[in-house]
Symmetry: C2
Subunit: 137 residues, 2 copies
């Protein structure tokens, strides 16, 4: 997923092209890590001093629904990153300081015994937390 592809996808789904959307996407293209709505606002402040919460949150959630962004929640705060180009389903090691991630191959769901629990499974979350090399210093 890159900015061009994302904009195509938006157009395809009937969303309009705006500079703000392009620039928001560019922020994610430049930062390959989980960032918050506030981070986006801060980064774009020089360009768009009055960028509205409504705009940020609505667009982030649109991007996320379209599969342009991946989403997680750390410390009660939603964080987003560009969807990994990797085609295979995988999980992440996440730096709790800067949001940087590292892919972890495989998925624990594969090794699970047959589901005889009576539960209808709809999703799962596997994340490993820690601190990246730069943030460990």
């Amino acid at each position: 997923m890159d900015v061009t592809k994302a904009i195509h996808l938006l157009k395809e789904k009937g969303f309009k092209y705006t500079d703000k959307r392009k620039d928001m996407l560019q922020v994610f293209a430049n930062e390959l890590r989980y960032i918050s709505a506030k981070d986006v606002q801060e980064t774009l402040k020089p360009h768009y001093p009055g960028l509205s919460f409504d705009t940020i949150y609505r667009n982030l959630s649109t991007f996320s629904e379209l599969g342009i962004l991946e989403e997680t929640e750390l410390d009660g705060e939603k964080k987003f990153r560009f969807k990994c180009p990797t085609s295979e389903h995988h999980h992440h090691l996440i730096c709790l300081t800067c949001g940087k991630t590292k892919e972890v191959a495989g998925c624990p769901m594969e090794q699970l015994p047959v589901n005889d629990s009576g539960f209808t499974v709809t999703g799962h979350k596997f994340e490993i937390y820690g601190y990246c090399q730069a943030c460990s210093l």
Copy 2:
């Protein structure tokens, strides 16, 4: 973990005994599922109509720190349940409607390759989401 053991642990750590704490713990003993602060308030409303947020949140967080409760976050809301009596480290299948859980044996961390990522790992989360039999109907 049960109410008696939890109260002993509290006393041991220098916390005082109060009826509210006992009754809060009893709520968790009766409900073997993830519940929210609001659920606790609702359940105890007949007994303690004016139970304060301060009291609830402070105690929940104390219980959690002492390992009396397990904590997770669903939909941006903190949820708590009595710590499983199972001694082995394990994970849960969680019903998104009622919070009921089912233990899943083993932990995906064990099957992970040696950590050569440069990350210092401090924790992980593996949760499976779905709907229990009762809530699937």
